[in-house]
Amino acid sequence: MEVDLTRIKPYGDTLNDGLMQLSFTLPIDLGDEAAEAARQLVGKMGFDEPKVVFSQSLGKGFSFYIVYGRCRETIDITTIRVEKVNVNVLSKKEIEDFIKQSLGRSINVIGACIESDAHTVGIDAIMNMKGYNGHKGLESYKGINALNLGAQVTCEELAARAMEIKADAVLISQVVTQKDIHIANLTRLIEILEAEGVRDKLITVVGGPRIDHALAQELGYDAGFGPGTYAEHVASYLVHEIHNRQRR
C-alpha cells in the first residue's frame, strides 16, 4: 500500500495503524479505577483502543501510566508550510567577500543572554572566535565587529550599549523557557527598543533551543534561529538583510 500524503497517520508496524505511545502522571492514588480513568482519558483525547500497558504508584496522591492507543486523526502534509529564515547560506569566505564588495563597510553586531538567563553557550557558539562544532563564530569574520555581552544582561543595558556602538544588529539568546519567561523577556526588549525609537534601525535576531522563526516574528523580531544554528547561518542572513535595507 502506498502512503497517502494528504492523510498521514502514525505508523506502529503497519501502514495507518495509528499507533502512538503516551506517558503521564495523574494526581490520584493508583488503583483499578485510576488506571481505568487513565484509559478513558486517553479515549476522550480521541484515541481508539487505548491500552494501559503499565501503571505505577508514585506514592500518595500520584500515579504514573504508560498507554498505547490508535490515533484517529490524519494530517495533510502537502499543505504544511514552515516559516524559515529565507536566506541562501554562504560560507565564511563568501560572507566576508560580500561584506567587502556589496556592503562596502564593516558591520556591528551586539549580542547577549538577556535578563535572568545565564546560558551563554549558545550565544558564545554563534559569536565568539571559537565557534561551535568547527564552525568559527562571528568574531572571527573579517568585516564583522562582534560584541558579546554575555549572561544576564538587562534589556536596558543591552539597548544602551547597542545605541552606543551603533549596532546594525542585536542577537539575543534565550534558553530558559519555564513558565514562558523567554516570551516575557523578549517582549520586554522589543518594547524598550521601540520606546527608545531604535527598533527599526536595528536588525533583531533571537535564538535558542526552543526558538523558531515563526515565534520570533510573532514576538516582533526580524529573525529566529533554533537548535543546530551556526555563525554562517546568522551572518548570511544579516549581510543580505543589511544589503536589502541599504537599497531601500
Binding site: 505508523y11 506502529g12 508496524d13 503497519t14 505511545q21 506517558s23 494501559v52 503499565f54 505505577q56 504508560i66
Partner: protein, 516 residues
C-alpha cells in the same frame, strides 16, 4: 588465559559426557528417516509448488509413498525411478502424482545403476543451487564487508512480508547487521510449509520460500545502500525443520534458529522425530555455510535463570556435539544463552556477566547468540530500556558475537518500527562507549564472578554425566530441561518417523558430509 580461572579438566569432562549423549542419539537417528526429511530431499531436487487446494507438492509425493508403506526406501529412489520410467522432469513427476496419474511405488523398478545415476543427477540440482548461493554470499561479503561484532540482530514480526521488508530496511539504515523474520504462531506445528508470499500472520510472518526470497532481495538492496552485507535469519525449527533448511540454503539465508531440542520442549513435538529432523536440517545448514543459532536460552523463560543456569551450559555442550556430527564447524554453531536473571536479585548483573563470560570461554571458536531480557520485561518501557542497556553492557564486556537486541516493548507487542530504532541506538551507544572496556578489566580471583562461573560449570558437568548415564530421551522425559517433561511417544509428529529399509538411500548425506 582464563579470566574465570576455570578448570580445563572440568571442561573436558563436560565435552566427553556430551559426546556420549550425542553418540547415543546418533544411533537413533541413523536408523530412521522422517516425512520431513524426505520432503526436504524433494525440495532439494527442485520440487516446488502446491496443489489447487494448497497442499505443497513435496507433501503430496511423500504422503503417497508413506501411505504405501515404502518411505523407508527414501523418496529419492521412488522419484528417480519414476523420472526414468516416464522420462519426465522431477517437477512433472510430482505434478502427475498430485493428479493421481502416477503412483510411485507401482512404477516398475528400473536398473540399479541407472537409478543411482539419476538420483545423483537429481541431487545435483540442489547441490549446485546451494553452492551458487554460497558463492554469491562470499562475493557480497567481499564487496560490501560486514558489521563488527557483536552483530546487531533484530527481528521483524508484522505478519506481512511486505511490511516486514520496510521495517527491516529501516532497521538496517539504523545500524542492524542481522534481520530475523519471526514466524507466525502455530507455523511450527504445521506439517507442511505454506506456499507463496503471505500477508497474514500473528506475532510473526509465515516462513515460505517466496517470503525468503522477498526479504533476501530487500536486504541485499539496503545492504548495497549502507555498504555492508546484511544477514537474513529464519527459524529452522518445528515439524518442517529439514524443509526450511533446504529452502533457506537455496535462498541464501545466513543464520538459522536450529536447535536439537527446542521443538520437543517448547512445541511438544515428538522427540524421536525431532532428533532425526535436526540431523538432516543441520547437515544442510552446514553445507550451505549457514550459521545455526541454538535455543537453550529459551529454557530460562520457563525455568529460573539463576537456578537453572547450568542446564543452559549443559545444553550448549549437547548442541555442540550433535552439531559437529552434522558436518557443522564450531564456527557455524552460535550457541544460545540469555540475560534472564531477575534484575531485582542483588548482583544480578554480576551473575549475568559470569554466565556470559563462561559461555565465551567454554566455546572460544563458536559465535555466541546472546538473547536479551524478556521474562522480566514489563509494560514499563523506560525501565525496559535500562534492562536492555545492562544487557548490552554484559554483551560488550564478555565479547559476544551475535547480539539479539532487546526491545523496550518486549512485554507489550512485537516490535514497532521505532522500538527497533531505539534498541539499535541503545546498543550502538553502549558498544561505542565501552568498546575497549573488556580488555581493561580482570576479575578478582575467587570473587563472585569466578565462583559463580565455576559453580555453573561444575553443576553442568554433573548434570551432563547424569544425562549421559540415563540417555537424553530419558532426561527430557524427566523434565530436566526447562522444567518441562516430554515423553518419547508423546507429542506431535511421531507418525512421520519411519525406520529405514536396508537399502535406504539419500544422496545428500554423502554429498553434504563430503563422504564421496
Amino acid at each position: 588465559m582464563s579470566k574465570l580461572g576455570i578448570d580445563p579438566v572440568k571442561v573436558h569432562r563436560a565435552r566427553l559426557a556430551a559426546e556420549r549423549i550425542a553418540n547415543d542419539i546418533q544411533l537413533h537417528i541413523d536408523r530412521r528417516t522422517t516425512t520431513a526429511v524426505e520432503r526436504a530431499t524433494l525440495r532439494l531436487m527442485g520440487i516446488d509448488g502446491a496443489t489447487e487446494v494448497g497442499i505443497p507438492l513435496p507433501n503430496v509425493v511423500v504422503d503417497q509413498v508413506l501411505q504405501d508403506g515404502r518411505l523407508g526406501m527414501g523418496i529419492a529412489f521412488w522419484l528417480a525411478n519414476a523420472v526414468i520410467y516416464y522420462q519426465v522432469s522431477p517437477q512433472e513427476a510430482a505434478e502427475q502424482v498430485a493428479l493421481g496419474k502416477i503412483e510411485l511405488t507401482r512404477v516398475p523398478i528400473q536398473d540399479e545403476g541407472a537409478l543411482r545415476e539419476e538420483i545423483q543427477k537429481l541431487a545435483q540440482y540442489g547441490l549446485d543451487k546451494i553452492c551458487a548461493k554460497k558463492q554469491e554470499r562470499d562475493e557480497y561479503i567481499k564487496k560490501l564487508g560486514q558489521g563488527a561484532e557483536p552483530l546487531l540482530y533484530v527481528i521483524v514480526a508484522t505478519g506481512n512480508i511486505f511490511e516486514d521488508v520496510k521495517q527491516a530496511q529501516s532497521a538496517v539504515r539504523q545500524g542492524a547487521d542481522v534481520v530475523a523474520v519471526i514466524r507466525t504462531t502455530g507455523q511450527s506445528l504445521l506439517d507442511y510449509v505454506p506456499y507463496g508470499a503471505t500477508t497474514e500472520g500473528f506475532g510473526g510472518t509465515y516462513a515460505t520460500q517466496e517470503n525468503f526470497r522477498i526479504m533476501r532481495k530487500g536486504l541485499d538492496e539496503v545492504g548495497e545502500e549502507v555498504g555492508k552485507y546484511i544477514r537474513l535469519t529464519n527459524y529452522c525449527s518445528g515439524l518442517c525443520m529439514p524443509e526450511i533448511a533446504a529452502m533457506g540454503a537455496m535462498e541464501r539465508l545466513d543464520f538459522m534458529l536450529n536447535d536439537s531440542m527446542y521443538g520437543v520442549i517448547f512445541r511438544d513435538i515428538n522427540m524421536q522425530r525431532t532428533f532425526v529432523d535436526q540431523y538432516f536440517s543441520r547437515m544442510i545448514n552446514g553445507f550451505a555455510g549457514i550459521i545455526i543459532n541454538t535455543g537453550e536460552d529459551n529454557y530460562l523463560t520457563t525455568a529460573d535463570a539463576f537456578a537453572a543456569a547450568h542446564t543452559v551450559t549443559a545444553s550448549q555442550f549437547i548442541n555442540e556435539q550433535l552439531a559437529l556430527k552434522c558436518g557443522l564447524t564450531e564456527e557455524q554453531v552460535a550457541l544460545g544463552h540469555a540475560f534472564e536473571i531477575n534484575p531485582e536479585l542483588e548482583n544480578s548483573f554480576v551473575y549475568e556477566l559470569a554466565q556470559a563470560a563462561l559461555a565465551r570461554e567454554l566455546f572460544p571458536k563458536s559465535p555466541l547468540k546472546y538473547m536479551p531480557p524478556t521474562k522480566y520485561m514489563t509494560g514499563n518501557i523506560f525501565k525496559g530500556h535500562v534492562q536492555n542497556c545492562l544487557f548490552n553492557m554484559a554483551s560488550i564486556m564478555s565479547g559476544q558475537s551475535i547480539h539479539l537486541l532487546g526491545m523496550l516493548t518486549e512485554a507489550i507487542h512485537t516490535p514497532h518500527i521505532a522500538d527497533r530504532y531505539l534498541a539499535l541506538e541503545n546498543a550502538k551507544l553502549v558498544f561505542n562507549a565501552m568498546r575497549g572496556f573488556a580488555e581493561e578489566i580482570t576479575f578478582k580471583t575467587d570473587g563472585i564472578i569466578q565462583k559463580r562461573a565455576n559453580k555453573v560449570l561444575n553443576d553442568a558437568v554433573i548434570f551432563l554425566e547424569e544425562v549421559a548415564d540415563m540417555g537424553l530421551m530419558e532426561a527430557i522425559s524427566k523434565g530436566m530441561f526447562a522444567d518441562i517433561a516430554r515423553s518419547p511417544k508423546g507429542g506431535k509428529g511421531l507418525d512421520g518417523v519411519i525406520f529405514k529399509e536396508p537399502d535406504y538411500y539419500n544422496p545428500f548425506v554423502d554429498a553434504m558430509l563430503g563422504r564421496r
